[in-house]
C-alpha cells in the first residue's frame, strides 16, 4: 500500500504574521518558514505505518513556489521514501478546491489508497483541503483524528476523531483520506545522517502548468489587516477581594 502525504510550507507558527502595506499581503520575505505542524504529524503517522509493515511506500507531495523544496527535503529527512514537488511559477495563493484538484490528479496517477494530511494549515486556517479532496476522489474521509489503526488486511482503518462534543470512533473503508489532529503522535526530528541521506532520495518536479487544471481563484482577497487586539489595562490586583470588586466595577459581574 502506498501512502501519500500532502504537506504545506507555512510561516513558522510561533512567528507573528505582519502585513506588507505595499503589496497588501502577509510579509513572508526573510520570515522563518516551517512545515505546517499538522503535516509533520501526518508524516510521522505515515512513517509509523510503514515501520509496522503495513505500507510499501511513503510519498510526500507539496504544491508551491521553488522554496517549497526545502519542506519536501525536510519530509525526506524525517524518513519518507520520495517526494513530488508540484511547482507553481510564483507564490500563488492556491485555494483548497484547486489544491484538491491538483492532489487528486497526483493521487490518481500514483494509485494511492491512503492519504494522510493535516487538519488545517496554520496560515490560512481553512480546514478544508482533505474534505474537498475526499469529495473529488469519492474516498472515505476521517477528519480531526487523534488515533489511527489499520485492519490486519489493510482494507479498513479505525479512527478516533476529536469533535466538539467529545471523541467519535469510526471505521473507514479504504481508499480513505484522514486529516490529523495534534494529539495523534509526537513527530520525530530528522537526524543529521538522515538529512544527508535525504539529498539522494528521489524528488520529482511536476510543473503545475502541465496538469491542465484551472487555478483561477474563486475567492478573491480584497484586503488584509492586522487585527489589533483591544487595548487592555493590565491592572495589577493582589487578592480575591480586589478581583471581584474590579469585575463588578467593569460591569462583568
Amino acid at each position: 500500500m502506498k501512502i501519500i502525504i500532502p504537506i504545506k510550507r507555512v510561516l513558522d507558527p510561533f512567528t507573528q504574521a505582519r502585513i506588507d502595506k505595499q503589496t497588501q499581503s502577509v510579509d513572508l520575505t526573510n520570515s522563518k518558514m516551517a512545515m505546517n505542524p499538522f503535516c509533520e504529524i501526518a508524516v510521522e503517522e505515515a512513517l509509523k505505518i510503514q515501520e509496522s509493515g503495513h505500507a510499501t511506500e511513503t510519498i510526500a507531495v507539496s504544491i508551491g513556489a521553488d522554496k517549497t523544496i526545502d519542506t519536501l527535503r525536510n519530509a525526506l529527512a524525517m524518513g519518507v521514501d520520495r517526494a513530488i514537488f508540484v511547482r507553481t511559477e510564483t507564490e500563488l495563493n492556491l485555494q483548497p478546491l484547486t489544491l484538491g484538484k491538483i492532489l487528486s490528479a497526483i493521487i490518481k496517477k500514483e494509485g494511492a489508497d491512503l492519504v494522510i494530511m493535516g487538519k488545517q494549515a496554520v496560515d490560512n486556517d481553512n480546514n478544508q483541503t482533505g474534505q474537498m479532496l475526499s469529495g473529488l476522489l469519492d474516498y472515505s474521509i476521517g477528519t480531526f483524528i487523534s488515533k489511527f489503526k489499520l485492519s490486519e488486511d489493510n482494507n479498513s482503518v479505525e479512527v478516533c476523531r476529536e469533535i466538539d462534543t467529545g471523541i467519535e470512533t469510526r471505521n473507514l473503508k479504504l481508499p480513505a483520506i484522514v486529516t490529523v489532529d495534534l494529539r495523534l503522535n509526537e513527530p520525530r526530528y530528522a537526524s543529521l545522517p538522515n538529512i544527508m541521506k535525504a539529498r539522494s532520495k528521489p524528488l520529482e518536479t511536476v510543473e503545475l502548468s502541465s496538469l491542465d487544471i484551472d487555478t483561477s481563484p474563486r475567492v478573491k482577497v480584497l484586503g488584509v489587516e492586522e487585527s489589533g487586539s483591544k487595548d487592555r489595562a493590565a491592572k495589577q490586583i493582589n487578592s480575591a477581594n480586589e478581583l471581584f470588586e474590579e469585575l463588578k466595577q467593569l460591569g462583568a459581574m
Binding site: 478546491l97 480546514n127 475526499s134 477528519t143 470512533t169 480584497l222 491592572k235 480575591a240
Partner: protein, 306 residues
C-alpha cells in the same frame, strides 16, 4: 435569493452556533430554510420554533444519527438546488461536511466568517486570528461557516412548517463505532458568560479539579489550554484556541496559562480577561485587563474562600 442553513443538533437541542448561522443567513437573504439530517423526526420541532426560518426540510433515517461526511455531503448537495447560499455554524460538525459539499458542487467554501460586508464579501481570520482578510466569492453558490461569537444567536419565536423530504440515503464507506461524550452540568463553553480556564501551570489532573471547583463557585464554564489537554488534565473538548474552541465570554480567567498565540486566538475577544500567573512577563499578563501575579494555588484558595 434564498439560503439553506444546515442544522446541528446536540440531541434534541439546536446548537448555539446554528442559531448564529440563522442570524447570518437572514443578513444574506429574506428566505431562509433549515435542513435537518436526523434519526428522530421529533427534533424538527425545536428547529421550527427558531425565529426567522421559513421552512424546515427534514430528512430522517436511522442511519443519520451519527451521519458520515460522505452521506451528509451528498444529501446536502442534492437539496442545494435552487439555493444561492449554504450557511452553517463553525464547528467540527459542519467543517466535516461543508467542504465536501463544496467539492461536489465545484464551489470554494469560506470558513469562520466573522462579518458579512455584502452579498458576496466577507471577513475571516487568518494566522490564528492575527490577520483579518476581506474576501469576495465569485462562485454562483456561496458556502459559509460562521463564527458563533460574531453573530447574535437567533432566539425562538417562529413556527415554520416542517417538510419531510423523501430521498434515497446513499450507502456509506464509513461507519460509526462509538462516541465518548463528555457530559457536564456546567454551562457550555462556547456560550458561557464566564470561563475559568486552566493551563500547564496546574501541574496535574488532581490539581486541575481546583479549576472545576472555582468554575462551580463562579457559575462558570471550564476551559483549558492545549498543554493541559495534552497532559491529560481534561478532555479535548475543553481546549480553547486556534485549533480548539473560540469563545468570547464576559469574564475569562486564565489560570497558569502563558498566552501562546494559538491560545489567544481562541479567547482574545473576551470582554474582561484576568491573568493569574507568577510570571509577569507571560504574554497573557500583557494582554489582560486584570493581572494577579501570584502562585496560582494561593490565588485559587483565596477565591474559593471568598
Amino acid at each position: 435569493m434564498s439560503t439553506l442553513v444546515l442544522i446541528e443538533l446536540n440531541s434534541d437541542q439546536v446548537s448555539a452556533n446554528t442559531r448564529a448561522a440563522v442570524t447570518a443567513a437572514k443578513l444574506l437573504s429574506n428566505k431562509v430554510d433549515a435542513l435537518i439530517l436526523t434519526n428522530n423526526s421529533n427534533y424538527a420541532k425545536s428547529v421550527s420554533s427558531i425565529d426567522g426560518i421559513d421552512t424546515v426540510k427534514l430528512i430522517t433515517d436511522d442511519s443519520l444519527e451519527h451521519v458520515s461526511s460522505e452521506v451528509a455531503s451528498k444529501l446536502v448537495s442534492d437539496v442545494m438546488d435552487g439555493y444561492q447560499y449554504l450557511v452553517a455554524g463553525s464547528s467540527t460538525f459542519s467543517k466535516n461536511i461543508l467542504p465536501r459539499v463544496g467539492a461536489l458542487l465545484d464551489v470554494q467554501p469560506i470558513s469562520d466568517v466573522c462579518e458579512i460586508k455584502s452579498s458576496n464579501t466577507f471577513v475571516r481570520p487568518l494566522y490564528a486570528g492575527n490577520i483579518m482578510a476581506t474576501v469576495e466569492s465569485i462562485d454562483p453558490t456561496i458556502i459559509l461557516t460562521v463564527r458563533s461569537t460574531s453573530f447574535e444567536h437567533a432566539p425562538d419565536g417562529g413556527s415554520a412548517p416542517i417538510e419531510q423530504l423523501t430521498v434515497d440515503i446513499p450507502k456509506s464507506n464509513s461507519s460509526f463505532v462509538e462516541i465518548q461524550e463528555s457530559k457536564s452540568e456546567r454551562p457550555e463553553l462556547t456560550t458561557a458568560e464566564r470561563i475559568v480556564s486552566g493551563g500547564r501551570g496546574l501541574g496535574s489532573k488532581e490539581n486541575f479539579e481546583l479549576i472545576e471547583k472555582l468554575a462551580d463557585k463562579l457559575s462558570a464554564a471550564v476551559g483549558a489550554s492545549r498543554a493541559a489537554v495534552d497532559a491529560g488534565f481534561i478532555s479535548n473538548d475543553y481546549q480553547v484556541g486556534q485549533t480548539g474552541k473560540v469563545v468570547a465570554p464576559k469574564i475569562y480567567i486564565a489560570v497558569g496559562i502563558s498566552g501562546a498565540i494559538q491560545h489567544l486566538a481562541g479567547m482574545k475577544d473576551s470582554q474582561v480577561i484576568v491573568a493569574i500567573n507568577n510570571d509577569p512577563d507571560a504574554p497573557m499578563c500583557r494582554m489582560a485587563d486584570l493581572v494577579w501575579q501570584v502562585d496560582l494555588f494561593e490565588a485559587i484558595d483565596d477565591m474559593l474562600k471568598h
